[in-house]
Amino acid sequence: MARAVTRNTRIGWTIVAWAVALVIFFPILYTIITSFKSEQEAIAGFDLIPSLTLESYQTVQTQNNYFRPFMNSVILAVGSTLLALIVAIPAAWAMAFSPTRHTKNILMWMLSTKMMPAVAVLVPIYLIFLRFGLMDTRIGLTVLLMLINLPIVVWMLYTYFREIPGEILEAARMDGASLRDEILYILTPMAVPGIASTMLLNVILAWNEAFWTIQLTTTSAAPLSAFIASFSSPQGLFWAKLSAASTMAIAPILILGWFSQKQLVRGLTFGAVK
């Protein structure tokens, strides 16, 4: 029968799939491996077995004070996400459970702000940051990243909230719940998975943002994306050191990303593909 997949075809497909997956993953793998090599080993040619030295990690920390951009990334990503959630949760609730004639238009308009190319407002934002002394400050960048990702956050929350049947909220109202009770005991617990997914995706997006962070920071507020970009200027060929810095920059988000595959699809397509 056609349905029964023979063991051999299954093994065949498995080999092909793993080969493709390893090719795609190879640059990351090779970077991780190189980060455990010494500088001499790193440029000595192709070699998949490192000497497992932590020397490069130490150098990155002592020479470049890696910890500061790392903390900046954490503060920016988490801070902008929390700010966005504070603004977006009430808005998404309102639009999901008390829609008006304009709700759809408002949502589409919010989406359209996300489509504004960053470079189009580079000049005014740059001048505003200069004028108000926001250059190279965490607060300025946090607010900016919050604004950039706000439409996605509202949208994701909206699509999650919409899956909560309105009748359940009405049932709570009939059961004597005030609006506060309704939000506290019924909506929030039911929406927790959606809120968590939204947070996760937004942290990933903010962590990897690399246009504004490079434009608007120099040193003190520079997150990892700006910090790593500065390695492009020729300051010697430090393959192992670069690999160590890169590995540390992508590891946390790579792990978060693995957990958020499903939400990723939904968030990045604004609910158009689930």
Partner: protein, 289 residues
């Protein structure tokens, strides 16, 4: 749901998000539009004057502008071709009954989580470097002379990097769509004796059409703004060989301090992005009801 009480409360809860986004949209865009009509250079701010359409004319007649438009187009189309075709193939591959499917998926989507500067640096130094990169090692192994990718094929090299970053996105979305394909329908077609390629053309592709559209549109929005990958690898060169519109505007604003010119470029970028956006909004909007 709709009692007056809840409706007025809802208005209050919506307001902050709407007001913030309204400011975020109107103020900078208005400023860009205004500056685009000024002669305004940060190196010489004292001689700021009204420029009329000069900045636009200047931009339009600058050969670098046409180059950058062309490069933008090549970059977007090149990456789309690779990611959509590759994405369909890999999605179908992962959807097969294979061992370790979850792990394969994780490996394949990983590049998406690599921030652009890191992705660009990895490829520039570890993979494509003319003396120490893996490609050079492979070339040496076969006894040919290594290619200096970023000097000889700058735009192509950047396309490779960006395609590597976005291939997971396309794969993941197309896989999601593929997995929602009705298994019974496929079985029925199989029972009817439809061969594999015809099932693909008549059942699988039409089913994925919507997801493919979404992938193309969303990627286009992001691909129009490729910046860090260029900054880190070629700096837009040699000459303007790998300068896209985003990078050109960045150079005008930050390296030449030409506020008026950069603003005019920004307005052009908005127009371009909006053309794509209109189509995307239609596709997404249909899903709202």
């Amino acid at each position: 749901m709709a009692t007056r009480q809840t409706a007025s409360l809802a208005r209050l809860m919506r307001a902050p998000a709407i007001i913030l986004l309204l400011i975020w949209m109107v103020v900078p865009l208005g400023m860009t539009l205004y500056y685009s009509f000024l002669n305004y250079n940060l190196l010489n701010p004292a001689v700021t004057s009204w420029a009329g359409w000069f900045n636009y004319q200047y931009f339009y007649t600058d050969p670098a502008f046409l180059d950058s438009l062309w490069n933008t187009l090549v970059l977007v189309v090149g990456v789309l071709l690779i990611t959509v075709c590759g994405g369909i193939a890999i999605a179908i591959l992962i959807d097969k009954p294979i061992f370790g499917q979850g792990l394969v998926r994780i490996l394949v989507i990983s590049p998406f989580f690599v921030m652009p500067p890191v992705a660009a640096l990895i490829w520039k130094n570890m993979i494509m470097h003319p003396s120490y990169g893996v490609f050079a090692d492979i070339a040496k192994f076969f006894g040919t002379s290594p290619v200096d990718w970023f000097a000889q094929y700058p735009l192509f090299s950047i396309i490779i990097i960006v395609a590597w970053q976005w291939l997971p996105f396309a794969t993941l979305i197309l896989l999601t769509s593929l997995q929602s394909l009705d298994g019974e329908q496929m079985e029925a077609a199989e029972m009817d004796g439809a061969p594999a390629y015809s099932r693909f053309i008549h059942l699988v592709l039409p089913h994925m059409a919507r997801a493919i559209t979404v992938v193309i549109l969303i990627q286009t929005i992001f691909l129009l703004s490729i910046y860090a990958e260029i900054l880190v690898t070629t700096n837009g060169g040699p000459g303007t060989a790998s300068t896209n519109l985003t990078y050109l505007i960045y150079r005008a604003a930050r390296l030449n301090f030409d506020i008026g010119g950069a603003a005019a470029g920004g307005v052009i970028a908005v127009v371009l992005a909006n053309i794509v956006a209109i189509f995307l909004m239609r596709a997404v909007g249909k899903n709202l009801d």
